[in-house]
């Protein structure tokens, strides 16, 4: 479920190492001065080679600048388009296709920007900075409900060219499918490995996730136990009825020389089939329902795991077998001479 909760957005942020310099002469201090900090883009490649990379959902660098559009100042953000939605799957991007991260002619504009300048997907417009003009085609309109609605997203390469910050980024947003405790270890590993950056856990997101996960886990555990108990009772009652209806048949089998073990095996084989079919159908119905609910509530899809299929089918079969123990025992108590008389 943690993976699905990554719809909350990035949970780790890379920021430049402290760029504050102490200015002084000998014992005389003139105070401190700080400059604009950057992370080297070349360092980012290491993120994918770390141990924590197996839990990495996605990451994207951010490079900010300001450009003029129709004589108005607009915040320009350089990103990797293809990773942007991976990191923030709940963002609504109205785009006919995923834009390549190296595409320097396209832009994704925030919904407020689109409204202000009357732009739609497919339109072109110009922006300028320090006397240079760039013509961009609107490839998508982004709606987040946040500050992104007022921004202009372009490929990182183009943003670096426009702002004159070659191979540099301001921040990196990373999304990991792990809990709060593990996130701290991930951040420490990132800080150690990437020389130009400090990694910080976005605590609010991590805590919200953990709290939500805890509540959901409790609710689902209670629900699961309840559903399993109800299923067991239903299976038990159904099998008891079957055993009662088949008293004559069981009596006949015994008269024909069937051993108790053989009759029990026949019942259990039937139960096994019921469990397998029930588990199979239940799994796909459950996944369908969960996907629909999750999409509606969180606007992100869920990713069913193959292992959970086997767990669900295994539990379904297990519940059926356990619930059938009593009815099968009842069935084997049949006295053939009595049932064959029709009593």
């Amino acid at each position: 479920m943690g993976g699905e909760l990554r719809g909350y957005g990035a949970n780790v942020l890379l920021v430049p190492k402290d760029t504050t310099l102490q200015v002084g002469l000998g014992e005389l201090s003139f105070g401190s001065m700080s400059g604009e900090g950057f992370i080297s883009e070349n360092d980012l490649i290491q993120i994918e080679s770390l141990e924590s990379a197996e839990h990495l959902v996605g990451y994207t660098p951010y490079l900010y600048g300001v450009v003029d559009v129709n004589a108005q100042k607009v915040v320009l953000v350089g990103v990797w388009f293809d990773s942007l939605i991976k990191v923030n799957p709940s963002w609504k991007l109205n785009s006919p296709k995923i834009i390549d991260r190296k595409d320097v002619n396209s832009t994704v504009i925030g919904s407020s920007v689109a409204q202000s300048f009357g732009l739609q997907v497919g339109d072109s417009f110009e922006n300028s900075r320090e006397g240079r003009t760039y013509r961009l085609s609107v490839a998508g309109i982004l709606s987040t409900g946040g500050s992104e609605d007022n921004q202009l997203f372009v490929s990182l390469g183009l943003a670096q060219e426009i702002t004159g910050n070659s191979a540099l980024v301001h921040t990196v947003q990373l999304s990991y499918a792990v809990g709060k405790t593990e996130l701290k270890a991930v951040a420490e590993e990132l800080s150690r490995t990437i020389p130009s950056a400090n990694a910080k856990v976005i605590t609010q997101v991590a805590e919200a996730e953990e709290s939500f996960l805890g509540k959901i886990s409790t609710v689902t555990t209670v629900l699961t136990v309840g559903v399993l108990a109800a299923s067991a009772v239903a299976v038990m009652s159904t099998l008891s009825t079957i055993a009662l209806e088949r008293r004559n048949e069981i009596g006949l089998m015994l008269a024909l020389g069937a051993s108790s073990r053989r009759i029990a095996a026949l019942f259990f084989a039937e139960v096994l089939v019921i469990g397998l079919v029930g588990g199979f159908v239940g799994y796909f119905l459950g996944v369908g329902l969960a996907t629909a609910v999750w999409l509606r509530i969180f606007n992100t899809p869920i990713f069913p795991r193959l292992a959970s299929f086997f767990v669900v089918v295994g539990i379904a079969v297990g519940v059926c077998i356990v619930a059938s123990l009593l009815p099968v025992r009842q069935a084997l108590k049949v006295t053939p001479s009595v049932t064959l008389r029709g009593e």
Binding site: N248, A255, L256, A258, S337, R341
Partner: protein, 226 residues
């Protein structure tokens, strides 16, 4: 081969510690003999048959069948005894309604050893049911259902055939068909015990015993062998 295939010694059966179904019954059945047990309803003749077939246990006494005292066998041993030695023919046929005639016969094979469809079809064909092999019991006449029941009883080549009112539900024509089958089986050397309230059936067998209120009548009639 023992000459006495069945020997009952002082067999008593009391239900619920108060209803006496059989009282000190002593009976011997020779190998290859057709014995008819006559008696009115409630006389204890079905109880006697069930005890000989290992479907029920006596309250007292010994039941020696094929040299084994089956009164002392446990449930699994009794099941083995039944599937290897006894074929049952019931008045109500007790065919499984959702299985075809062939499958009903194969059911007995399945519990005995290996289900063999060809063998089951041959057994049914021998009883004149070659045109009814794939029919469900509900698609068969009463007489045909009883013949399926007989085929099922014979498919594992039992040493003892036990029939409880085998013609009780049949019309005269079908009764004659079934009795002719029994007569042929008797000629082939199969030991048959039939319980019935119809004295006419007894005439086809070797010997008749009567049972009244759970006691065998000493005044039974000995007939000529079939």
């Amino acid at each position: 081969m023992v000459s006495e295939i069945v020997e009952l010694k002082d067999v008593t059966k009391i239900y619920n510690q108060k209803v006496s179904a059989l009282e000190d019954v002593n009976l011997k059945v020779e190998n290859g003999e057709w014995l008819t047990v006559l008696g009115p309803s409630g006389s204890g003749k079905s109880t006697l048959l069930n005890i000989i077939g290992g479907l029920d246990r006596p309250t007292k006494g010994s039941v020696i069948v094929l040299g084994m005292n089956i009164a002392k066998l446990n449930q699994n041993e009794l099941a083995k005894f039944r599937r290897e030695n006894v074929g049952f023919v019931f008045q109500q046929f007790h065919l499984v309604p959702y299985l075809t005639a062939t499958e009903n016969v194969m059911l007995a094979q399945y519990f005995h050893s290996i289900a063999d469809e060809n063998e089951a079809r041959t057994a049914l064909s021998k009883l004149g049911l070659s045109h009814r092999l794939d029919h469900l019991p509900s698609q068969l006449s009463i007489g045909e259902q009883q013949r399926v029941c007989i085929a099922r009883a014979l498919i594992n080549e039992p040493k003892l055939l036990l029939a409880d009112e085998p013609t009780g539900n049949l019309d005269h024509e079908n009764e004659q068909i079934v009795l002719q089958i029994f007569k042929k089986l008797r000629e082939d050397g199969l030991t048959i015990i039939v319980v019935t309230h119809n004295p006419e059936i007894g005439k086809l067998g070797d010997r008749i015993v009567e049972i009244v209120h759970g006691e065998l009548s000493t005044n039974f009639k000995l007939l000529k062998g079939g």
